[in-house]
Symmetry: C2
Subunit: 396 residues, 2 copies
Amino acid sequence: MTDLADIADIGADARRGGFSRHGYDRAELELREWFTAEARARGLDVECDRNGNLWAWWGPPGDGAVVTGSHLDSVPGGGAFDGPLGVVSALAAVDLLRGKGFRPGKPFAVVVFAEEEGGRFGVACLGSRLLAGAIAPDAALRLSDVDGVTLADAMRSAGLDPTRVGADAEALRRIGTFVELHVEQGRGLVDLGAPVGVARSILAHGRWRISVSGEGNHAGATLMVDRRDPMVAAAQVVLAARRSAAAVDGARATVGRLIPNPGGTNVIPSSVDLWLDARADDDTRTRAVVAEITALAEAAAAEEGCTVTVTEESYGDTVIFDPTLRDSLSEALGGVPALPTGAGHDAGILAAHVPTAMLFVRNPTGISHAPAEFAEPTDCAEGVTALARTLETLAR
Amino acid sequence: MTDLADIADIGADARRGGFSRHGYDRAELELREWFTAEARARGLDVECDRNGNLWAWWGPPGDGAVVTGSHLDSVPGGGAFDGPLGVVSALAAVDLLRGKGFRPGKPFAVVVFAEEEGGRFGVACLGSRLLAGAIAPDAALRLSDVDGVTLADAMRSAGLDPTRVGADAEALRRIGTFVELHVEQGRGLVDLGAPVGVARSILAHGRWRISVSGEGNHAGATLMVDRRDPMVAAAQVVLAARRSAAAVDGARATVGRLIPNPGGTNVIPSSVDLWLDARADDDTRTRAVVAEITALAEAAAAEEGCTVTVTEESYGDTVIFDPTLRDSLSEALGGVPALPTGAGHDAGILAAHVPTAMLFVRNPTGISHAPAEFAEPTDCAEGVTALARTLETLAR
């Protein structure tokens, strides 16, 4: 059986720990080859769509297919399960169904979406967003990584044609139902004592780039009173994010990425870029948290003689997964619980267009986006069984 | 005449602006070749000492030499003048003296010290510190850059033998007097209306690495109350540095470098490394500022459920330049002013061992360690004239 151990050598990050696998980088390209080989070994036909997503068809492609899958990229220094568990479980579910002689009565595909984490180009769910028309092709192609390589460059290097990206009505029409299996990114299933659950909703979620500009200068020769230090304003933004989110029930705000320029120990930075990840139950609360942080950032920058710009890099409103599909899946799986999640997923993007469901596999510590992310092998096997049963029901 | 325009293409940093030239990197090695060729073109004999410093001898090497020079490396995204101005002015002064038929009556050398800024390996004045025995060879060789390359590796790649680094009594004995010309890193000369001055003192100065460890986790799925976020504690350290230094007369504290690990937008970091640069008039004040920041860092980390370690990476007490030499130089130059500086220099390291002086050239804005660093060509020419007169007096 295909399992995560097969890809444990690809994209391991010796410096950060865990894995760094980002859209169209060496590790992700290697994983795409691995997936293609695994799918072909099962007699599935693999194709890459205009937006870089891989589709492995069991039988002839067609409209209204039952589709399952996830992504293979990671956050920097991420865990082994987020994304790949959904892909290997999809292949394992195909094996299970085949083993018992099942033949899908509808078109059936396993999908791998490109750059789900936004770890390279900054926008999460990039492949599914492009496919669904949730981001303009020009805006997407201009996104660049830390070395200034644009998405357009990266796609070209990977042998793809960037002029063809954008809303793909044909690909969307082919998805009748999408089911994504994912490791849970919280302790909901632990608290409920259940190995597997279904998704109820995803928080509203956005990313904002906050750029603070001041005056670069010498760390020893510049008096404290003469400074316009953007790091001081940036530190206040970090604390504002903590305070503002903590004051709103269910909200979360995080600064996980912060880059001083030029970044020398003996240099007052000329600018600092930091990224705000903010989420809450609904649009109103999310917007309120971000508005408060923005106002505090502007005040902190002004006080320091700096300027600040806040740019929305991505945003998605709350997702409520199809309740009929959710309840029928839960029932078919023996009454497994339905849970909300704070994490974004390609399933959340597709939910605006097609009936979509998610299966979660228990995570003993709830930790995710970190090397400690984990799921027990027995729970992963339960996940595969549940996914196979779900797909069998849907594709009958 | 040799001038800074000759090296304006070497190590230009398109991303940060200014120049990034660090010990034994491609740009610095190219600058060393450039210096070697310039010195040889003047008939000077160039040698590299055991610690990677370059010496260009005008006439036979010997003890008690008159030595002038500076460094060619920069901070990340630094200006064109800090370091290279002292080297090109030294060569220009040799040209001036030669042009008027002067022959030194004592051994005479132009020196280029290695990795003065500590931009790659973290410890400032690395070449002069090693030569003077102010850092243990083992500790120095273990220093590593952001990619994990150690000083030992870098020296080997540059064709040097790392087993030979360390206190170099012979090299030290050869220095009778050291004079370093440098762009001023403040507005002292602007305020005094003088193109050139001499140095009075250097602040006590150290660098501390502050590592905060928390719990890496998912930015969307982790409730605010469940977080142990080292970025929040790090932000409090940045603000503590500002507050603590501002409360002590003449003290400066800066966080110019901060690296979250893993550094993803949608990831609560598992750890954050930040570097504190702290300086004050004397050891007592500097230590007091650092002790206060350390205590605040420990409190902030504890409050967040994080741990913190503070490691001193380098430290140097206040330097008072040789008053006799300083006053005689000032007088010989027509009564130019004597100024303190907050910036560290190789001259500050050598001052503990040999009579040492510095000449400063006016900087119209006072900005340094940034692309805006500047000195007017006429002031630079005044600097060369003053340096030549100084060397002539000393080497007569």
